[in-house]
Point group: C2
Chain length 100, copies 2
């Protein structure tokens, strides 16, 4: 897969996943990498960015096996951002489609 295509879209994928329900980092890695082959390092960087921007909040919960899971929750601000990014993405795909 062309790595460049992912730039910017992975963030939207994360936001969309978190809209459904809170999820922890490793879980997001598993889910998203099933479709788009992404590494953990990339995902955690995106999550840090989103947290620094106030788009997600985090809390810890114990795991059945392994270290505690850090769950990510979409804030209201994050949901607004998600909606906006989704619209931008759809518009972008349409415009690009005209040229391709």
């Amino acid at each position: 897969m062309d790595a460049q295509f992912k730039k910017g879209v992975l963030e939207l994928c994360v936001l969309s996943q978190l809209k459904e329900q809170d999820r922890y980092g490793y879980e997001l890695t598993e889910r998203i990498s099933k479709e788009l082959s992404v590494t953990a390092g990339t995902l955690y960087l995106i999550l840090k960015r989103l947290k620094d921007s106030g788009y997600v909040e985090t809390y810890l919960m114990e795991s059945t096996g392994g270290p505690a899971r850090k769950y990510y929750h979409l804030t209201e601000q994050g949901e607004n951002y998600r909606k906006n990014q989704k619209q931008e993405w759809l518009a972008f795909v349409e415009k690009a489609g005209k040229l391709i």
Copy 2:
């Protein structure tokens, strides 16, 4: 427009434009920026990349007003690359769509 979305796709847009017919740099800038807001500098960088990779060839032709135009022609190798990139792009959009 989110600049990140463009990563990798601009190149495909250029290739697609050149599949129809040979075009010169300034012309490509005009056409593509109508849809996707791209500057000349970015376009010429992409064109240089494509030339260095053997995906396009160039030749000069006089202009009616202004400096000579440098036309870009898609090579056979470039056309194969374009087909491949187009498929990858479509597949990517579909996969991302599942997550969004």
